[in-house]
Amino acid sequence: MLNRYPIWKYLIVLIVVIGGALYASPNLYAPDPALQIAGESSGTMIDERLLSRATTALDDASIAHFGEIIEPGGRSALIRLEEQETQLRAQAVVSRALGDGYIIALNLAETTPDWLTGVGGQPMKLGLDLSGGVHFKLEVDTAAAIERRMEYYLNATKRSLREERIRGFVGLDGDRAVLGRFRSEDLREQARSLIADAFPELLLDRVDEEDEFLIFARMTDVTVDEIIDYSVSQNLTTLRNRVNELGVSEPLVQRQGRNRIVVELPGIQDTAEAKRILGKVANLEFRLVANADAPAAERQRFEYRSEDRQGATEYLERDVIITGERVSNAQASFDQNGRPNVQISLDSEGGTLMSRATRNNIKRRMGVLFIERKYRTRYEMDENGEEVAVKVPYDEKKLLTAPVIQSALGAQFQITGLDNPLESSELALMLRAGALAAPITFVEERTVGPSLGAENIRLGVKSVQYGLALVVLFMVLYYRVFGLCAVTALTANLVLLVAIMSLLGATLTLPGIAGIVLTVGMAVDANVLIFSRIREELGNGLSPQMAIHSGFERAVATILDANITTLIVAVILYAVGTGPVKGFAVTLSVGIITSMFTAIMGTRALVNLIYGGRRVETLAIGRIPKMGDAA
């Protein structure tokens, strides 16, 4: 008998739809407004006593709250609030009650029941345009990173030539090459083998001039790319650490393109504070304190940073041993004599460099420089003859401390000789927060207010509802019972779309909602194709069962072709698009896939259930074209 699905096909459709409903359901549970309490430094633990201080303060201010919980690990705690409006006031109350040293962040606590979370159910994440928050786009100054590396090559070359007593002139040639000039070919050859051993990644070129022998040590494109990649990924890590200081729930720190980093902070409204913490351009340098007899060209004078040692200075060597980005961890503690110190761990390359530098310099002192990027304002005339302010960045370098090297240092060592515990904890914090491998600039900044976000959701949901209602009305009027089947499939399609988006952890944005609305409109296309085929076949005189069968079968090839081409477009959009384009592409591609399933298998299952396997005289599919009549 025609048009009867085997039981397993019905089961597949049923299971998919029920599964879809299950995984879409977390979105029905509206999150509670909440406060998140975390320590300012990562070592701070949150205990019951602290939590009760916070809740007592809330009680005193008569702000309704519930479900207080300390997160596993004890690093943060969550207090749920009854009303959204009290969130800001509650934040102020709690931060006053706890005092400095804690970050009180506005948060949204999920209310998905445990059994749903247990099977992997979670609501869709909302983009900033729907939840409110700040979006920053930062650009990493990769040119500065390259420049810094060239300086390192230059200094290292100079030093090893000096150590081997090879006389010659060494300088920079452009921004990509170190240039060496020598009196004899023999000297140049010695220099060449030195450089080749130390830096195999450099490309060496020899040029002979009248009475001089030149060598160019050039950075290859591969090396340059490596430096750029390294500096961007290092900055990414550092920014992540800094974002954690803000205590935001679900922040996003993501690389975009060659040298851009996107930071999204949902729920944050205080952009000034966020920018201050993110943009804190600071770095550290470890350099040896210069010997008294060092030539003036090889040493540099620095002031101490701390107030107590105002005016005191120290001469340091020009060569940098390592910079702050090699530090993987730092902890303030005390040595066996009870004096404050800082325990430092370096990454492997940092460890090698450090041990090489310290092995021969025991009993000498090592200076720790703190470098901060600051801006000077200069006024210039622009092309219209108007005076414009130009901000010129410069690095301010000050000495933090200059302890004595007690033994050869490796990847793990400690800095002692610090004045007080305050100094050691501050130094540890600076080292741990990490330093930027290259300066960053803010190229884009967007803030969406929370009320606007909520309104965007409201309007989005409303337009989906009305759009769906209009389609339902039209389809049922035009295709009768078949229209009803299509509409049921369409609804299932929406549920599946939401379920897959939730499962994928995709972020729903405003253009994403627009994508869903468009999917509603276009998803019926597959059904329309099938139904108009069935009408045609009926018009050609086929029996109802034959018409259903052939209508479905023949429309499938067309549906596949049409949808695959659209899918190609959606996938490309996702690959190259950013922001709204990406959000839209995700919903569109998921929508295309789910609509193919619901339109082909879902509708068929329904139609089969209603009409299949029995004698049917007529089909309720609207007007059937007769010969000589338009479809």
Partner: protein, 304 residues
């Protein structure tokens, strides 16, 4: 079934399309697009007044406050105001501006949204958007050429370019702001128009194989007539939901909805007239479609 002689008016349609494209290109050249913040760079601030806002008062407040070249328009309601500043950005500009406005007005002013975008991002986005479109077109052409035949690929891509240019031209003529969401809409137009064109092409291919004696022009007319019902119904349902989006979706999504509304209408027209017209001009014949024998066999298998 009544066969409508669509292709009888193919020259007229071609003239119409060329006219539309020339108008669009002309406007794009002369008036250009009203690039949104994403492309030009600058600062955009949306504020919400507790009471209805006086735009002129806001303008003069801003001019006095040293914000030169500020464009102030109402946004949706009379309480929501959108302020656009050309380049020239300082860290605290948004909050500062809010304070200025708050000071000048007697009511509460709420900052709803602030966006600062450097112009450099704009250049890159323009490149990236253009690249995305070219790539999409290229791959689509490959797929169609592989599944159908080269002439169909050309037809579909010409139809796509036709739709995109005319939709862009519409934005240029009306002066609607062209931002990233509108770009997303434009790419959706590509998807929609393609969907439509493929359905028609599919029927043309089928009919070439089925109606062996018919002339190409006849085949195209028959195919268009057969699919007309479906084309119109799909356009209608899509337009219905887009209308709902335009009316209820809020200001931020308005440009998106309008772009799609125009795009879908143009796309519907182009799937009937442009793609098939190109096919006929390229002299499509049933021989073109007889080559992939394997595919024909597959098709037959699908029939009962």
């Amino acid at each position: 079934m009544k066969i409508i002689n669509f292709m009888g008016k193919r020259r007229l349609a071609a003239a119409f399309s060329v006219l539309l494209i020339l108008t669009a290109l002309g406007s794009l050249a002369v008036k250009q697009l009203n690039w949104g913040l994403d492309f030009t760079g600058g600062t955009l601030v949306e504020v919400h007044y507790a009471d209805s806002a006086d735009l002129n008062a806001i303008r003069s407040t801003l001019a006095d406050g040293g914000y030169a070249g500020a464009i102030v328009v109402s946004f949706g309601t009379d309480r929501d105001v959108l302020i656009r500043l050309p380049d020239g950005y300082s860290d605290a500009q948004g909050t500062e501006m809010l304070e200025t406005l708050q000071g000048a007005s007697g009511v509460n002013v709420e900052l709803r949204r602030i966006e600062f975008v450097g112009p450099q991002v704009g250049d890159e986005l323009r490149e990236q958007g253009g690249l995305a479109m070219l790539l999409a077109l290229g791959l689509v052409m490959l797929y169609i050429a592989f599944r159908f035949q080269f002439k169909f690929a050309v037809g579909a891509v010409v139809a796509l370019i036709h739709d995109v240019i005319i939709t862009l031209g519409f934005f240029s003529i009306i002066g609607l702001e062209f931002d990233l969401t509108v770009l997303a809409a434009l790419l959706a137009v590509i998807g929609y128009s393609l969907n439509d064109t493929i359905v028609v092409s599919d029927r043309i291919r089928e009919n070439f194989r089925k109606l062996r004696k018919a002339e190409p022009l006849e085949v195209v007319n028959i195919s268009l007539s057969e699919t007309l019902g479906r084309t119109l119904v799909t356009s209608l349902t899509t337009l219905l939901v887009l209308l709902s989006l335009a009316v209820f979706g809020g200001e931020m999504i308005n440009g998106f909805a309008i772009a799609l509304l125009v795009g879908v209408m143009i796309g519907t027209y182009s799937s009937i007239y442009v793609a098939s017209n190109v096919l006929l001009s390229m002299g499509v014949s049933k021989e073109d479609l007889m080559i992939p024998i394997k595919e024909g066999a597959e098709q037959d298998d699908l029939m009962p």
